[in-house]
C-alpha cells in the first residue's frame, strides 16, 4: 500500500443546495500525519465524512487503507478509527463500557477485548477513571477516551475531525504528543482537520489548505512557506490602508500587496532594506505608520497568498454542513 488515503475530484452538494466540495483531491502516505486546514465551511468535515464512509460523494473517487470507500465501505470501516468533532462517547456509560462496546462493534475478537480495553485505558491515562460514568469526565478526559475509542481496532488510518477545538493549551499539547507517539510506535496514518495554523505547523508532516470546497495548495509546512518568496512586512496605517496600498504599488521589489483592515501587508524581496522605503513613501504622502513588523513567511502568509484572505481561526466550530450556508450565501 503506497498511499494510505487517496481522493480524487470529490464533489458533494448537500440537499439544501450548499456546495460543500467542488473537486477535492489529495493523497496521504502511510505513517503520515496529514492536516486539512481551512475555515469553517471550507469542506474539511465533509471530506472526512466521505472518507469515513458516513456520507457518499456526488462524484469522484476515494480509497482508504487499500479499500475503495464507495465500493467497499465495510472494508474501510474495519480498518479505520474515526473521532468526530462532537465527542461521540456515551455519557451514561463508563470508560470501560464505552470501549468494550466499541470493540464489539469493531469486530475485535471477543477474547482480546478485556485486555485491549485495559491497555488502551492505561495508554490514555484513564485507568483510574475507567469505572466512572463519562458524564463526570472533564473535557480533556473525554477527548482522551475519544482517542482510545478510535484506536480500539488498531486501525491503519485514524480520522480526527478538529480534535483540539475547545481544549485548553495543555490538553492540546498532550494530544499532539500522543499522536506523535502513535505515529512513531505504530506507523499510524492520521488525517486531521484543524483551523489552528499553529496545530497544522507543529503537528502535520504535510497539509492541504482547503478553501471553498477545493484544495488550494498541498505540501509540507516548510515547503509551503519556502514556496512563498520574500519577507512579510505589516504596516499599521490606521484607516487609510487602501490608499496606502495604492501608494506603495509602484515601488520596485514588492511582490504582493494586500490591505487588511487597518494594516497593509506587503510581501517584499528584501524586508530589511525595503522597510525604510515603504515607511518614508507613506509618511511623505501624509500617512503616518503607527507600527511595523517584519517576518519570514508563516503559514498565515501561505494561507493569505493562496486564498487572498487572512486566516481567521473561528472560535467555536460547528459542522461544516451546519455553517457552510452561513459562510457562503
Amino acid at each position: 500500500m503506497e498511499t494510505a488515503i487517496a481522493c480524487q475530484d470529490l464533489k458533494k452538494t448537500y440537499k439544501n443546495g450548499v456546495k460543500a466540495l467542488d473537486g477535492v483531491s489529495f493523497s496521504v502516505r502511510p505513517g503520515e500525519i496529514f492536516g486539512l486546514l481551512g475555515p469553517n465551511g471550507a469542506g474539511k468535515s465533509t471530506t472526512v465524512r466521505i472518507l469515513a464512509t458516513l456520507t457518499a460523494p456526488d462524484g469522484g473517487k476515494a480509497s482508504v487503507a487499500g479499500c475503495d470507500a464507495l465500493v467497499n465501505p465495510a472494508g474501510v470501516r474495519l480498518r479505520i478509527g474515526f473521532v468526530a468533532q462532537a465527542s461521540g462517547v456515551d455519557k451514561w456509560g463508563t470508560g470501560t463500557e464505552n470501549l468494550t462496546l466499541q470493540a464489539h462493534l469493531m469486530r475485535v475478537p471477543k477474547a482480546e477485548i478485556p485486555g485491549r480495553v485495559s491497555r488502551l485505558l492505561e495508554w490514555v491515562n484513564l485507568s483510574d477513571a475507567a469505572g466512572r460514568i463519562v458524564k463526570t469526565y472533564s473535557g480533556g478526559m473525554k477527548r482522551r477516551l475519544d482517542l482510545a475509542m478510535g484506536l480500539v481496532n488498531e486501525p491503519a488510518v485514524l480520522f480526527l475531525d478538529e480534535p483540539t477545538t475547545g481544549l485548553d493549551p495543555e490538553t492540546r499539547a498532550a494530544l499532539w504528543r500522543d499522536l506523535k507517539r502513535l505515529q512513531k510506535e505504530r506507523n499510524l496514518t492520521v488525517l486531521l482537520t484543524t483551523h489552528y495554523l499553529e496545530e497544522a505547523d507543529h503537528l502535520c508532516d504535510r497539509l492541504a489548505i482547503v478553501d471553498h470546497g477545493k484544495v488550494v495548495v498541498e505540501g509540507t509546512p516548510a515547503e509551503l512557506k519556502a514556496r512563498i518568496s520574500g519577507d512579510t512586512v505589516v504596516l499599521d496605517v490606521g484607516a487609510e490602508a487602501k490608499r496606502a496600498a495604492d501608494l506603495l504599488k509602484p515601488i520596485a521589489g514588492i511582490l504582493e500587496l494586500i490591505p487588511d483592515g487597518a494594516c497593509v501587508i506587503a510581501r517584499v524581496e528584501q524586508g530589511a532594506t525595503a522597510m525604510p522605503t515603504l515607511i518614508t513613501t507613506l509618511e511623505r504622502a501624509g500617512i503616518s505608520v503607527r507600527s511595523s513588523t517584519l517576518s519570514r513567511p508563516s503559514l498565515d502568509d501561505v494561507y493569505l497568498h493562496h486564498t487572498g484572505r487572512r486566516f481567521q481561526g473561528e472560535g467555536e466550530a460547528g459542522d461544516a454542513e451546519k455553517t457552510a450556508g452561513k459562510a457562503r450565501p
Binding site: A86, W92, L101, L105
Partner: protein, 257 residues
Amino acid sequence: MNAFLSDTLHLLLRHLRTTLRIPIWIAVTLIQPVIWLTIYGQLFRRVVEIPGFGAASYIQFLTPGVVVMTALFGSAWSGMGIIEDLSEGVMDRMLATPVNRAALISARVLHAALTVAVQSVIILLFGMLLGARVEGGIPGFLAILLLGSLLGAGMSALSNGLALVTRREETLIAVVNFFGLPLTFLSTAFMAADLMPAWIRALARANPVNWAVLASRDAMLGQAWGSVAKAALMLSGFAAAAVWVATQAFRAYRRST
C-alpha cells in the same frame, strides 16, 4: 444474522444501563402508575354504576387501561434517545463502525418493549393491591405483558422513525403530545365501548391502543382467548409495519447526511 443478533444484544445492554442510571426515570416509572390508578380510580369510581357499563369494579376495568396507556406513553418518547445520539455524535461514531445497521433500530425497539413489560408488572401488582383481580391467572398476566410490549415496540419504532426524519426534540414532543391523549381517549381505556358515541367507537376500532386495551381486559378476566390471540396478531402486524417505517426512515437519514 449473527452480527445482527449480537449487535442488538450489546446495544440493548447499553440502553438498559442508561435507563437504570437515570434515577429520576425509575422514580417516575414507579410513581406514575400509582398516581394514575389512584386518581382515575377514585375520580371515575362511580361510572360503573351507569347502566350498561358492564363491569363490577372500576379498578378492575381501569388497570388494563393504565397498563396500555403507560405502554403507549413510555414508548412514544423512545425517539428522544436517538435524537440525543444524533446530536452528540454517538450515531456518527457508530455508523463509522461495521455495526449492523438494523441492530441500531431493533435494540431501541426491544429496549422499549422490555421497559413496558417491567412497568406493566408494577402496574398490575399495584392494581391487584387496590382490589383488581387477574381472573385469567398467570397466562392472563403474561398475555397482558405481551400485548403491552407489542404496542410499546410499535410505538417506539414509530417514535424513532419520526425522530430520524425530524431530528428535533421539539417536534417529537409536539407530536407525542398531539397524538398521545387522543389515542388514549379514542379507546376503551377509561370508558366502556357501549357508552361511547358511535363515531368514537368506530375510530377506536382502528386504534392499536384500543386493540391492546380490549385484549388486556379479556386476558385479565380470563375470557375470549380467541380474541386475545387475534389482537396479539394484529399488534404484531402493527409492530412489524412500524419497524419497517423506522428502517426506511433510518435509510433516508443515512442517505441525507
